[in-house]
């Protein structure tokens, strides 16, 4: 009943999709964490207005489905004159999504830094920006690194949805292949396993990066 042989001729399609998913993930992980960091800093240390804006952004994104956000960006925005390619729309949607979740996570990290650390930097004459980058960020990220890793993986898995707007990533590949050889279950099974592999790989890569970033924990 199950027959995977029909998938072989399409290995290029799967591979192409895999590459696109990886590219998108890497790009949006960076952009999303950067956005989240910025928003978290505003939320933690900013004035009342930026804080409220960031809070609304976070709540809005966290309480609506990603697919609706994606459709809104891709199909809705042209109505007000913003035309984006599928790729652009997906990068933006994924970044905004990860940005919102990572804002909350990173903010918890910033909050975990003892007030004394900030004061110590202050009495040494450092500016706020220097304090942030030199004193606060590394320990703050260390605290929340596992949560951030999980969130990035969740966003990667969520990217399956962007096949809906014709971005040729991994799920698109699965859909395309099953529309050609009518082996739906086999295509999706293989694809699911590829995603699983990606997720495990991401966790591994994050761990390696974490080891480097937070090397101060185990050395000497």
């Amino acid at each position: 009943m199950l027959y995977f042989g029909d998938l072989l001729p399409y290995s290029d399609v799967f591979f192409g999709g895999l590459i696109t998913t990886v590219e998108l993930t890497v790009l949006t992980t960076f952009l999303g964490i950067a956005l989240g960091t910025l928003c978290a800093v505003l939320r933690q240390y900013g004035g009342a207005t930026p804080r409220r804006i960031v809070a609304s952004y976070v709540e809005l994104i966290r309480n609506t489905p990603f697919i609706v956000q994606l459709f809104f960006i891709f199909f809705g925005l042209p109505a007000i004159g913003v035309m984006l390619t599928p790729w652009q729309a997906s990068v933006i949607a994924l970044t905004i999504n990860l940005g919102a979740y990572s804002t909350e996570i990173i903010r918890a990290g910033l909050g975990s830094i003892p007030k004394g650390q900030v004061e110590a930097a202050k009495v040494l004459g450092m500016t706020f920006r220097q304090t942030l980058t030199r004193v606060i960020f590394v320990p703050a990220f260390e605290k929340i690194y596992p949560a951030l890793t999980s969130q990035c993986i969740i966003v990667m898995l969520g990217s399956a949805v962007i096949s809906q707007i014709s971005v040729e990533e991994l799920t698109y590949a699965a859909n395309l292949v099953q529309s050609r050889n009518f082996r739906a279950f086999e295509s999706y099974l293989v694809t699911a396993l590829l995603y699983l592999g990606l997720a495990m790989m991401m966790r591994y890569v994050f761990k390696l990066i974490g080891k480097r970033l937070f090397s101060f924990r185990e050395s000497s």
Binding site: M1, R62, N63, F75, I153, A192, L196, A199
Partner: protein, 216 residues
């Protein structure tokens, strides 16, 4: 030919939102039941069972919910059973929900000091008695806020049932968009309805968290 008024759009969306709510409820209840069973397996000190639960979690947390939907939808039929988009969506969401809830609850149980287990054992209670009288009542308090928080993910997850053809809120949105060609308006309305469904849950999760943290 056919004209859709705003009222028609909203009426249809709200009608479809009922399916979203129902799907969320059933999936959440299903997920809770499965997660309870898995949590129990995990608490037994049998390492094989614990490994199985770990694999289960890895599988359903490590693959996209969309794939799980596809696989439930097409896979179960391959086994020779009929399955509707509705049942497939419920099945996939249940698996997905339970995998996350088991993890969340494990965290909650782990926050209880080991001394609680030991003191109970020294008073002669059996494993099940300890669970029922000591661990569960305490873990429940801790677990309630993150569990409610996770329910938001379930509601949002139901949006993916649109892809396997189940007409819930998102699917109704794309259909109406096609019939009316007002994507900005339609998708904004869809988003607002989801927000109205999810935000109260997020909010109550936050309130519950505060409440239980204060009283500790």
């Amino acid at each position: 030919m056919i004209e859709f008024s705003n009222y028609d759009i909203i009426r249809n969306l709200i009608f479809a939102a009922q399916w979203t709510v129902l799907l969320s409820l059933v999936a959440f209840i299903g997920g809770t039941l499965v997660a309870l069973a898995l949590t129990a397996l995990r608490l037994t000190r049998n390492s094989i069972l614990q490994k199985l639960v770990a694999v289960y979690i890895e599988l359903f947390q490590g693959t996209p919910l969309l794939m799980q939907m596809f696989l439930c939808f097409f896979g179960v039929s391959l086994l020779g059973y009929e399955i509707s988009a509705w049942s497939a969506a419920i099945l996939a969401l249940t698996l997905f929900t339970s995998a996350f809830l088991v993890e969340i609850w494990r965290g909650c149980i782990d926050t209880l000091p080991k001394g609680q287990w030991e003191a109970s054992r020294c008073l002669g209670m059996s494993f099940l008695q300890i669970l029922r009288h000591i661990i569960l009542p305490q873990a429940l308090r801790v677990a309630i806020a993150p569990t409610v928080g996770f329910s938001v993910q379930v509601v949002k997850g139901t949006a993916l049932a649109s892809v396997i053809g189940f007409v819930e809120l998102t699917k109704a949105g794309t259909m109406l968009n096609n019939a009316t060609f007002e994507p900005f308006k339609v998708f904004a309305m869809v988003a607002v309805i989801y927000f109205l469904l999810c935000y109260p849950l997020s909010l109550s999760s936050k309130i519950l968290e505060k409440k239980f943290n204060v009283s500790r």
